[in-house]
């Protein structure tokens, strides 16, 4: 099989894989499988997948570095899926959870720090999604690369959002934080690592 066909196949497979959690969520919603508090389930599951997709996107470079396997040409799609799940998450919050109680929504964004950071993360992802096309990449040149470093900040804020909303059992958010930190460390170039830590 030619390389081009193989790449197209991988892309389709990745696309379907990334879409699967969303389809599964819709399936559960329509079949009443979301338990006693379906709104909470929708919110939590869409939030979980936003964070997971962001971390998967940030894993592309470390994966290539450690294994040599490159998903670089599919990174745009992974990033756009992160944004997609973030928008789903926000939509569920605004429409289904708060039912357009704008006063409450504004108050939440201003006063509740976990919502402030979550909303900030989404605001960071928005221009990244808009400038994700090849044309924008070309037009922005060097600035494109620094702009898209915002993905790191969005993921960090996403982790913080999860940690800060947790009442007592912080094990799960700390697992996400640990994965994020490992992915960040794996990105460091040799010269960025302090001498005493270098092998």
């Amino acid at each position: 099989m030619s390389n081009r066909w193989r790449a197209a196949g991988i892309k389709l497979l990745l696309f379907l894989l990334c879409l699967l959690p969303f389809l599964y969520l819709l399936w559960d919603a329509f079949n009443g499988n979301l338990g006693a508090n379906p709104v909470e389930a929708l919110t939590h599951r869409s939030g979980d997948w936003t964070l997971r997709m962001l971390l998967v996107t940030l894993a592309v470079t470390p994966l290539r570095r450690t294994t040599g396997y490159s998903l670089l040409r599919h990174r745009r799609m992974l990033g756009l899926f992160s944004f997609f799940y973030a928008v789903v998450h926000l939509t569920i919050y605004v429409w289904i959870d708060q039912v357009f109680l704008w006063d409450e929504i504004v108050e939440d964004i201003i006063k509740r720090s976990y919502i402030t950071v979550g909303f900030t993360a989404l605001m960071i992802l928005l221009p990244l999604a808009v400038t994700s096309t090849r044309g924008m990449q070309r037009r922005l040149g060097k600035r494109w690369k620094s702009l898209h470093k915002g993905a790191y900040i969005a993921a960090a804020l996403g982790c913080l959002h999860f940690l800060w909303l947790t009442r007592a059992d912080t094990l799960e958010p700390y697992i996400y934080i640990a994965v994020f930190v490992v992915l960040m460390l794996l990105r460091l170039k040799r010269e960025q690592i302090p001498g005493f830590l270098r092998r």
């Binding site: 338990g35 006693a36 508090n37 909470e40 108050e107």
Partner: protein
Amino acid sequence: MLIKKPDHIKFSEITTQSDYLRRRDFLKKGLYAFAGLGLSGIAEALVKAPGKNPAIANLADAGFSVDEDLTPYDLVTSYNNYYEFGTGKSDPVENSKAFESRPWHVVVDGECEEPGEIDIEDILTGITQEERIYRLRCVEAWSMVVPWVGFPLSTLLKRFKPTAKAKYVSFETLHDAERMPGQKRAVLDWPYREGLRIDEAMHPLTILATGLYGELLPNQNGAPLRLVVPWKYGFKSIKGIVRIRFSEEQPQATWNMNNPREYGFYSNVNPRVEHPRWSQKYHRVIGGGIFSSKVKTEMFNGYADEVASLYTGMDLRKNF
């Protein structure tokens, strides 16, 4: 969409115990008067038992009810905060299946004349258990309506003759990580502790529950004995009680110890005092489905007529 606003039931509108005990006379008189009228509507005053647990015999309908619909049994027993069996909402029902709630003893001590250890069966001897349909408002901004079975806490407390020094009552949940696997992790400072001021504890709305929906409490709902204080956030209604203590000083309370900024000792339902991380003005009714609107939270969870006088002169923003 129609959002039902709960009516405030004044205490005076609730059937008194003596009227309740004469209810059959009342019915008989009614029957003579309307010989053809069926009894069905009245005889079914008690909630229908789902047949999942042993039924509680000789149950009295004490006339405590609310206008909102009951939360279905399946939801009441599958969506629980009971960290002793795990921190997820569906953990308690899964992880409490093997839990044995008998035999069970409760130690009662502190500032009382007759401290001692009492068996659950002795607690229930000579007590008429009542059905009490109460609203339950969780601090996480969701709510249920639960038909509890139980009896006033004051009935039990009086048996131990609290002294004049008994200003507070505290409670502890069983601490046994073998039986309560959630305690293997130090998510909270075990055992779970809660406390009430003595007047709150003696209030007629405050009950010890042994069942719901006419049957024994499922393990995930706090079997065999739990507190229910309907005007306070749900976490005050401590489950699986093994110890009750009278004290002069304000006792420790688990969530208050865990995060005093977010969870006060009183923790009365109060839409005007927000949780630092979310608003308490609205809540979601469990069982309403995906597209149900949020409902406005009432002061003292709609029990202001009955309990507001307990807090006269207190700044409820400070004493939240």
